[in-house]
Subunit: 218 residues, 4 copies
DNA sequence: ACGCCCGGGACGCCCCGTTGGT
DNA sequence: ACCAACGGGGCGTCCCGGGCGT
């Protein structure tokens, strides 16, 4: 009636719910998150929520698929896309995470994984999909490095990507618990040291260490 | 008098409650864990629980301090105590974790840390204490290795220990979510590769320190 | 559509809850009153109660403010409003209370006052407000009587009102405990005798004031 | 062994329990009173309590019969025993109650009566017995006054005693709720004014008012 | 289609009064 | 005299659908 206020805007309502839901789930976890708190934060009512989402779980699924996935892409995968040297780009990404003090609430994906993957298959599948996409991004970068002669050709890029993701998530978890980014710096140093072992030696590849690289720890 | 049944045994009752509490908390998380389920699993009643623990949080604290701490010592710290080569012992410990199929429910410490450390200060303090003990155990083993000439003397053992714990916890988390121990094997390989960079070059000790080790990633 | 049953009627629901709450509180007292019993008696569920009242105390406060206040007005204040002679009206009101067999459960206001005023400030304030209104009603009636020459002008109407309320409440309490309205009749007699000392001597007004009235008992 | 400490003393234990029980019941009421709080305050254990009293109600009964009855005798009946003029003695007793600022927790007997008499027959009987003893003490004093020519012979001493007890209890209740002894002073004034109507006129008895006294308010 | 108010059940934790074995 | 254990609710509150307006 009197201007653009108070008009129906389903998309905006949905987005506000997703945003408020993400924040509350990030803060408290999925199960303790209260729908009342979420709808209050979104400025809508319960009816609106249940119009857009079948139930609490459906909201949580959408948060994973839309919000968390977006953050993952933005923070970890896009920085690698146009990188000249994948190892340098990986180190830079970890360093960026270490300086951004998000150590308060931890990684949303990790939080949800620890909380829900053993309880709810739907969450587990969605989270697994994101983790695989994350690892695939790292693996592709390393593979590109192999084609460009920057990464040793005998490296199992999939396993390396998994290890990197694990180390990052572990460090984020430690930092969250400690309320201190120190683990992130330790991780940065460790990851750098680890990645240094993946670098191709300029010119040629040291033949002595080719066999050891794969059998190490085996 | 007439058999060992129904006799008073407070210690056993307490232990049963701790054990059942640990299992339920490990399976569901602390907040969703139901005291009714726990007392049922322990075969006692609410009154017994209320007698031994002031409230749910007190039970959770005791689970961390007594059960989880015990598992940590047993699985990660005791194997390192009498080790000749700390790096080999660390690799062996990770390998042991990779074969034990605990990938269903994840690391209890990690689960609790992700769920509770941002919510409850008591949990945060207790979990932090355990993590510090864990890292201290790793750091001491590496330091011993330095004294024995098996680890490069220029290594920041504290940061290395933090990185190792982070990588292990991250890999356990990934494995839990994937319902597959593959991340643990990737972690094993990654940790082994990382640890290989910490080994002292056989023969002498000092010359390996070329300054890069500490500045890497800085 | 198909009959008046099962239609949504928030006001009616709220009123049913207030009514059932008042009855249960009157019967058992506030603290022993069970919300489950109240919602059963009201024919609604916990959800409805939680929708209308934040918690048990909020329900109790509303019972005082709305139900008990209404009874007080109806039984003790309205009968005085249009009275020609306030003393006669007061005696009539006490007599009405003596014949109505409410000696089973006592005065709701008195019950709540004894139970809650020392425990809960919210109750204490609300109950105090009702008592002050009660006393104010009596005092105003006596003051009107003074203006009309029916009550001696040297009477401290506020103190007289307090004494009357105290005597009535005390007698209701005794009757409740004795399960017998006899104390109410004794109170009726006593109040009448007391009020007779407040009557202005017919014919003139001033000379009755001989100074004893105010100093008596002092 | 080593002195009089820690020796068994059943009577003292019982007395401590009665005392702590009375205080807790006076403060909170019987039903909200916690046995744990009582045994803590008494410095004994649950076992000791259940050794001396069959259950919570038995403790409450004993508190009424022994502690509350003692207070009643001491504060309201003994002061009347040797009084020359019962009316003066009654006024003095009320004045004594008005100056003692016990308006915090109210009269224990009144509290228990309001809370328990409708719920529990055992309490009701015991409390009724105390009230009757109280009224009997007042009535006897007035009767003595009649024999001594200080109280008008046409006074129904039983009804007068009931009215006095009711007014006192009512005033104590108001004072408790208001957290202010003002109602006690109003009661003092009212009681004095009321009692003045009971005084025998020196020398003879006004014949005109003999008939009115009993029919007043009837 | 979209949003809102109202109501429905279901547990969860807390804690209490009480009783057997020592 | 007592420690340990027992069940039974109490309140809170949460997630979730229907009945109506817009």
């Amino acid at each position: 009636m009197q201007g653009p206020k108070r008009q129906r805007d389903p998309d905006r309502t949905r987005e506000r719910l997703l945003d408020a839901g993400f924040r509350e789930i990030h803060r408290q976890g999925f199960q303790p998150a209260s729908l009342d708190t979420i709808v209050d934060a979104a400025g809508v009512t319960k009816g609106a929520l249940y119009h857009h989402f079948a139930n609490k779980r459906a909201l949580g699924y959408a948060v994973v698929d839309e919000v968390v996935a977006g953050l993952l892409l933005q923070r970890w995968l896009e920085p690698l896309e146009g990188a000249a040297d994948p190892i340098d780009a990986l180190i830079a990404a970890v360093r960026a995470a270490a300086v951004a003090d998000q150590c308060e609430l931890g990684c949303p994906l990790n939080n949800l994984a620890q909380e829900m993957s053993a309880t709810d298959k739907g969450f587990q599948r969605r989270i697994d999909r994101l983790y695989r996409r994350w690892e695939a991004g790292f693996a592709e970068a390393l593979e590109r490095g192999q084609r460009d002669g920057k990464v040793r050709p005998d490296v199992d890029v999939a396993a390396a990507a998994t290890f990197l993701v694990a180390s990052i998530e572990g460090a984020l978890g430690l930092a969250k618990n400690r309320k201190d980014p120190q683990p992130l710096h330790a991780c940065l140093e460790g990851v750098a040291r680890y990645l240094s072992t993946l670098r191709a030696t300029t010119g040629d590849v040291a033949p002595a260490s080719r066999g050891r690289a794969r059998s190490v720890g085996g």
